[in-house]
Structure formats: structure tokens, C-alpha cells
């Protein structure tokens, strides 16, 4: 680390002579040790998944959820310092509810990502605070259905509102990843945490930008990717946690929910099988090497 000893990395909000904020870079280091988190943007919904490392046998299995619901249609998962993640989620919920009280409608995923990006960025500006030690993935589905204004009475004309334009942009999936600097991008497939490199490589194989991956198939892929990304820390046990949001006519009816246990188990079973398959291949590969 070239930064150490120069003194420019001891305080947040301070630029080094070459224009870097080292405290933010160090916060990223905290993220890089966190459990792998991924998000996938499918044709008809989004999926969030995370690898929850079991740090103690005494932890209650199935408890301690890491994926949070922020508004009915939006979920958040983060890698890095877990308490920072909870702070982030709590802010996200405040933003979603403040939007609702102003506009009487759910916040679009994009707008939420923007507001949270600004919030996280503010923690890079002052020496009296430290940056967030997390990278968060925010995913949701902006409804494509006709929605009422919260609290409205009546439905307007029975024949429906006139003059609608066919194919006018309506809702859809949204997936964003927010870094400790406050920087955020929209993603087809997002990965962060310890196994992000492996996870990214797998995500890239999926051709997500074509927008053809079905939600159920995405669940299987997400589970498999978490298992692949876990390979490097094989010695540690982990729990897979997954959630999804579909369109209004999909399985979750536009809501952010935990993936049902039956589907989760099926996805895990397939993921393990796929891993075994890979092990055999690599096993034979080593055999060949030995022959050489």
C-alpha cells in the first residue's frame, strides 16, 4: 500500500496529492471480505442472493436474515460490515416511506438508488464520520399495472382512461449497486463481496443483457453462482439466502419476498449437483496433468 505512512489516509474526506480518498478505498476493503452477494435482472423480475457464512455452530439456523425488504416491491442485500448494512436498510426504508408520503405512490427503484447513493456519498464528505463499509445491491420491480394513488377514492371512467399510448414505457425490473463512495450503476447482473470475481464471471456467461432469462431459471442460476463463488472459502459452512420480485402477473405478484423453501431447496440441490460435476472435471484435469 503506497498510501501508508503518507498521512493522507488517516482521515475521511481528505484528498491525497493524487486525488484519492483513501478512507473510502479502505472501506471497500471491508466489503471485499464480506459474504458474496449477487443480484440478477431477469425478463420478468429480479433475484437477490447471498452467501451467509456460518461463523459459529451456535447460530440459529435459518434466522439472521441478510436480505431486507425496503418497500413492498424492493429488496436490499449488502456485503461488508453487517451493522452498516442495517443502517443502510433503515435509511432505504425511510426514503421509501418519505417518497410515499409525498407522492402517494411507491418509489421507483431508480429513484431510491439515487437517493441512497447521495446518502452514502455524504459519508465521504466529513472527517466527523466514516464511509459505509458496505456495497449494497438494490433490486425491485416498478409496477407495470395501473396503480391507485395511496388513499384515493373512485376509479375514474369505467371504460378506462382515454388516450393511452400503446407501448409507452411502463415499470419493469430495476437493479442497482451502490459502493462506499456513493457511486452507483444499474446492472443486469451485480456481484459484490468476497467471491465477486467468480460470481461476475458466471454472470457474464448468462447473456443477461438480452433480457430473456426467466425468473425461475434465474433462481437456479443465482443459487449455482453463490455455490461457485463459495469455492474459494470451501472450509467455511454457509447458508444460502435468496429473495425475488416478479412482475404483478408473476409468482410474487410484484412483491419482494423470500424465495419459497421448496424452490430454494430445489435450486440448492441442483447447485450442489453442478458443483460435483465440476469437481469431477477438475479431478480428471489434474489426472491429465500428472500424466504429463
Amino acid at each position: 500500500m503506497t498510501s501508508i505512512g503518507t498521512g493522507y489516509d488517516l482521515q475521511n474526506s481528505v484528498f491525497s496529492p493524487d486525488g484519492r480518498n483513501f478512507q473510502v478505498e479502505y472501506a471497500v476493503k471491508a466489503v471485499e471480505n464480506g459474504g458474496t452477494c449477487i443480484g440478477i435482472r431477469c425478463k420478468n423480475g429480479i433475484i437477490l442472493a447471498t452467501e451467509k457464512i456460518i461463523t459459529s455452530k451456535l447460530l440459529r439456523p435459518g434466522a439472521n436474515r441478510r436480505i431486507a425488504t425496503v418497500d413492498r416491491n424492493i429488496g436490499v442485500v449488502s456485503a461488508g460490515l453487517v451493522p452498516d448494512g442495517r443502517h443502510f436498510v433503515s435509511r432505504a426504508r425511510d426514503e421509501a416511506s418519505s417518497w410515499r408520503s409525498t407522492y402517494k405512490a411507491p418509489i421507483p427503484v431508480k429513484a431510491l438508488a439515487g437517493r441512497l447513493g447521495s446518502y452514502v456519498q455524504a459519508y465521504t464528505l466529513y472527517s466527523s464520520v466514516r464511509p459505509f463499509g458496505i456495497t449494497a445491491i438494490v433490486g425491485g420491480w416498478d409496477t407495470d399495472a395501473e396503480t391507485k394513488v395511496d388513499g384515493q377514492v373512485g376509479i375514474g371512467p369505467a371504460v378506462g382512461s382515454g388516450g393511452k399510448v400503446d407501448g409507452a414505457k411502463k415499470g419493469g425490473p430495476g437493479l442497482y449497486m451502490i459502493e462506499p463512495s456513493g457511486l452507483y450503476w444499474g446492472y443486469y447482473g451485480a456481484a459484490t463481496g468476497k467471491g465477486r470475481q467468480a460470481a461476475k464471471a458466471e454472470l457474464e456467461k448468462l447473456d443477461l443483457s438480452s433480457g430473456t432469462l426467466e425468473l425461475e431459471a434465474g433462481v437456479m442460476e443465482a443459487a449455482r453462482i453463490i455455490y461457485v463463488a463459495h469455492e474459494d472459502s470451501k472450509d467455511k459452512d454457509f447458508e444460502l439466502e435468496m429473495s425475488w420480485v416478479s412482475s404483478v402477473d408473476g409468482p410474487t405478484k410484484g412483491r419482494h419476498e423470500q424465495v419459497p423453501s421448496s424452490l430454494l431447496e430445489e435450486a440448492e440441490r441442483r447447485a450442489k449437483k453442478a458443483m460435483e460435476g465440476e469437481d469431477e472435471e477438475t479431478g480428471s484435469g489434474e489426472g491429465e496433468k500428472m500424466e504429463e
Binding site: 475521511n12 471491508a30 459459529s56 442495517r86
Partner: protein, 263 residues
């Protein structure tokens, strides 16, 4: 221990992404005397070893009842625990008034977790120097949570924190699969035995230095709660006797195993 440039406050990350002040706060937990918590399907129990400053002084309070349905055990700075427990008492009361039901254990633990997180991100504050085990029962059954100075909270089946707590944890891990179906009495025994593992050799559990809290689902009626009961002083005597009797009467297997652990 050596100082480094990155351990002055909680708002500075080290180049490895660590926050030393928070880690040091966790050390304060390890200075506190040991506390143990276990949850079964019907009950949760907290057990603590109390310390006295000198022979003639009183023993430090280790277990605090917060509301009828839950309490906590602390390890570390007792005054920090008092701040947190006062906060929890207020929150529990407010929740009861607003919603007309006991606050869910997870909810109250999240609240103190969020509060503790804030003090790891703002220069004007310092992290809490205390670890807590929060045990209680709510509409979804008995729960046990661990709280750390970092703001991390986790739901556990069993847990031990404080000085020499590793030995207690080893005991807990070894008996882990028995806890779920344990009766109230069995759970208390396990708690006391786990605590005993962590005692230094010249010490033993007495009515003076042991403290115990239990709550659970009451047998009669639906959703009935057994009020958080604190056993302190003479009241704990029979419980100690029952637990220690069985451990001594029990086959040497357990004693043998723990000796192995010691080596």
C-alpha cells in the same frame, strides 16, 4: 499491544478495512465476567458469574429484567449496559402502549443494534464497551440474541460471552443438539454447567456469585408467557445444588471430555 495510526477513533478505517476502536471495544467485553444463554423450544435461560471488587463489597449485577417477557445478561462495561437497558425499557413500554402487545425480541435487539452502529460511524461518539445476551419469549416463541459493540446482533441457539467464555462455548457446542427439547430444569442445568466450565480453577459457583434468569412459554393457555424470573442470592441455591449434583453424579465421561479440552 502497540498503537498504530488507525486506532484513534471509530471513524477511521485501517488499510485492511478494519475499525480498531470497535475491535478494542470488543476486548472490553472479554474483560467482563462470563455470561451464558441458551434457548430451547419452550424456554430461554441466562446464567451469569458475578464478581465483587473485594471480599466485603457487593456483587455486580449481571442480569437485568427489561420487561415481563425478556431480560438481558451483560459482559463488559456495566454502565454502558445500563444506558442500553434503560433505552430498552423505554422502548418496550412504548411498544406495549402503541401496539398493545409485548415487543418482539428481534425488534428490540435491532433497535439497540442500530443505536450501537451509529456510535461506530460518528466521531463524537464512542462504541459501547459491552456485549449483551438478550433472552425472551414473544408471539413466535423463545429467542436468544447476542449483541456486540459493533452493532452486530445475531440470533443464537446458545451463546457465551465474557472472560474465559471459550470453555463455556465448547460445552454448549458439545451439547447443542440437546437444547431444543430440553425442559426448563434441564435448560437451567445446562446453563449452570456451561458457566462452570468457564470458572478459573480456584473458583466455584455459589449462591453469592451465580445469577440466573429464565423466561418461556407457559404451559397453560395459548400464547401465555412465563414472566422473566431472576434467581439471585439464596433462591438460586436449590438450582445450583440440582445442577452440580447431576454433574458430579454423572458419569466421568463429561469430566473426562472437559479435561481433554483443557489440554
Amino acid at each position: 499491544m502497540f498503537r498504530n495510526n488507525y486506532d484513534n477513533d471509530a471513524v477511521t478505517f485501517s488499510p485492511q478495512g478494519r475499525i480498531f476502536q470497535v475491535e478494542y471495544a470488543s476486548e472490553a467485553v472479554k474483560q467482563g465476567s462470563v455470561v451464558v444463554g441458551i434457548a430451547s423450544k419452550t424456554h430461554t435461560v441466562l446464567v451469569a458469574l458475578k464478581r465483587n471488587a473485594e471480599e466485603l463489597s457487593s456483587y455486580q449485577k449481571k442480569i437485568i429484567g427489561i420487561d415481563e417477557h425478556f431480560g438481558l445478561a451483560l459482559a463488559g462495561l456495566a454502565s454502558d449496559a445500563r444506558v442500553l437497558s434503560n433505552f430498552m425499557k423505554r422502548q418496550a413500554l412504548a411498544s406495549k402502549m402503541t401496539y398493545g402487545r409485548p415487543i418482539p425480541i428481534e425488534r428490540i435487539v435491532e433497535r439497540i443494534g442500530d443505536r450501537a452502529q451509529t456510535s461506530t460511524q460518528v466521531y463524537t461518539k464512542r462504541p459501547y464497551g459491552v456485549g449483551l445476551l438478550v433472552a425472551g419469549v414473544d408471539e413466535t416463541g423463545p429467542h436468544l440474541f447476542e449483541f456486540q459493540p459493533s452493532g452486530m446482533t445475531q440470533e443464537m441457539v446458545a451463546c457465551a460471552i465474557g472472560a474465559r467464555s471459550q470453555m463455556a462455548r465448547t460445552y454448549l457446542e458439545r451439547h447443542l443438539d440437546k437444547f431444543a427439547d430440553s425442559s426448563r430444569d434441564e435448560l437451567i442445568k445446562h446453563g449452570l454447567l456451561a458457566l462452570k466450565e468457564s470458572l478459573s480453577q480456584d473458583k466455584e459457583l455459589t449462591v453469592d456469585n451465580a445469577s440466573l434468569g429464565v423466561t418461556g412459554v407457559a404451559k397453560d393457555g395459548k400464547r401465555k408467557i412465563e414472566t422473566f424470573k431472576l434467581y439471585d442470592g439464596p433462591e438460586i441455591g436449590p438450582l445450583l445444588e440440582a445442577a452440580l449434583e447431576t454433574s458430579e453424579a454423572a458419569p466421568a465421561a463429561e469430566g473426562g471430555e472437559s479435561m481433554e479440552v483443557d489440554t
